[in-house]
Symmetry: none
Subunit: 176 residues, 4 copies
Amino acid sequence: MLAQRGYQAARVDDIVRAAHTSHGTFYLYFANKEELFVALALDCARDMTTLASELGPVDAGPAGLDELTAWLARFLATYRHHGAVIRAWAEDQGPGRGLARLGGSAFGDIAASLVARIRETRPAPVTTPDLAGAALLAMVERFADFVTTRASPGDGDDGVAPLAVMVHRGFFGAPA
Amino acid sequence: MLAQRGYQAARVDDIVRAAHTSHGTFYLYFANKEELFVALALDCARDMTTLASELGPVDAGPAGLDELTAWLARFLATYRHHGAVIRAWAEDQGPGRGLARLGGSAFGDIAASLVARIRETRPAPVTTPDLAGAALLAMVERFADFVTTRASPGDGDDGVAPLAVMVHRGFFGAPA
Amino acid sequence: MLAQRGYQAARVDDIVRAAHTSHGTFYLYFANKEELFVALALDCARDMTTLASELGPVDAGPAGLDELTAWLARFLATYRHHGAVIRAWAEDQGPGRGLARLGGSAFGDIAASLVARIRETRPAPVTTPDLAGAALLAMVERFADFVTTRASPGDGDDGVAPLAVMVHRGFFGAPA
Amino acid sequence: MLAQRGYQAARVDDIVRAAHTSHGTFYLYFANKEELFVALALDCARDMTTLASELGPVDAGPAGLDELTAWLARFLATYRHHGAVIRAWAEDQGPGRGLARLGGSAFGDIAASLVARIRETRPAPVTTPDLAGAALLAMVERFADFVTTRASPGDGDDGVAPLAVMVHRGFFGAPA
DNA sequence: CATGAATGAGTGTTCATTCAT
DNA sequence: AATGAATGAACACTCATTCAT
């Protein structure tokens, strides 16, 4: 289904077969294929927004790095759960398409929150919040994608700590 | 066409209309829809590989930062040229699909090259080359995507310098 | 449909319109156009094989001629039923094509059976079984085609008796 | 081309490539694909009509059998030359189609001539000339097709003599 | 005369959606 | 509420034919 074939390639037939139901039942609960996807996306967006609110202030010291590291581990877990839907979002980036906007805003929340928490304690801005947030989130998301799809299972969260270091350094420079 | 609708959504009819030709002419030059796309992708991959080879050694000092900044500006220009194709790559991430592999290897080259040039002069590694490369490239790519599609024209390369600072700091910490 | 236009010329649209259904329904029951045709051909081949097994021994006497005459009448009726499909077979005689083989084997069975029953009681062979079978079957088939498509209805089976005489004579010479 | 792929399957592109010319040149000499085929068919029809006129009277004796045998050998040679076109005729048997009529008349001439020459000396008719002609010609044609396409080269005309015996017997009964 | 790139109507096939049971 | 057979608009691709050079 979605995880393996993407949004466009997932036929309603595949979906209902995987769910052990019928076409009729599917359209009883969803007006069309996209609406199922919107529902999944909303679920994902909710989790992501919650996640964004859970990042505490990140300062330049080791405590800030620890906070960031812990949060990245939680992000990775969430990504593992919603990865298929998130990847399907990326599929659908034509302007004006419903899912793109959905995805954009959810991830936008995270990016904004991320930068806000970090900026709170950072002395001098290095860039605009928008750019910094987008770049940062991209890095984190692609990292999650990389770990989720490419890496062998078992060493899944091994990369979290180094990534946290890179992000932390990117904002604050080397630790004192 | 591709730029506006993505790969799947771009009907041969659209492509042909945009190119002011006919279906027949299209199939005179490409065996099928995917082959057009492969041709575009190969073109993009070539430019990207060339680009990757053009990044000189990046050290911890201001010269390294300058090198990085200049290279990022060139990356941005290349991305501006091939953005539609690159975004279409992301669409097609089902396992075993031809384009994914193409895209994977081209971007893989860049990531490897990027990390290699930076590592050459960096004292202590902060993470594995693979992870660092993927994360770094993701950041840069998403940044380019952000700048290309969202930002208003005219201030296009305004974000290059701050991004370079973030990347440089991420690897080397604060400048001396 | 098939009867009037042949296999190649019968568009799925024609078939579907004649059957008062839709394209979707057609592809619900057949994987593609050829598969419908294979199904029809298998049906025809079954009837033809059955028919072949129903020819009793044919001897040189009047009893043999009667047996042959009765069997030819049954052959004619079967041909009347499957004529369109049989004619479509002939259309598709490129080497390696599925239908040709199907058709070949079904008619081959008949030819072999025909000659076998006649040979059982015939004193001296006049030719090889293969050639005799092919020639005999061709004659019978073209006769059926002729009667079915050209002759006016009503005197349809008038030709059976003379044809039986010719075939019988061809194998045994004049009746004693 | 025609010999290997049949009429429908032979694309103008194939024909042109095999003839080492261009599409433009093809349409300089023929108004359309069918017209090329009509030209080939006319050529074939001419040869067949000539052939039909060359069958001398066939009587019940050994001289009649010899005449028939010799003529069948010539028929086989002609069929070998025009086989592809003849087979393509069979492809195109929809009512009202130009080629079918062409083919019908050419072979009709042969059938009529065949029966006429044989009847001239035969004491009692066994069937109507039309039916006898069609059946006889079918047998001969299919025999030629069989020998031409299936049999191994070298023993090509081995079957002529036995076939002549069958045909002769079919009309006159056993030789005295 | 000759060419072959360009054309576009026509064809087989797919798949989201509906509705009678 | 649940089903799944039926639908048909939409799409990728073919190939006979034309015409500017």
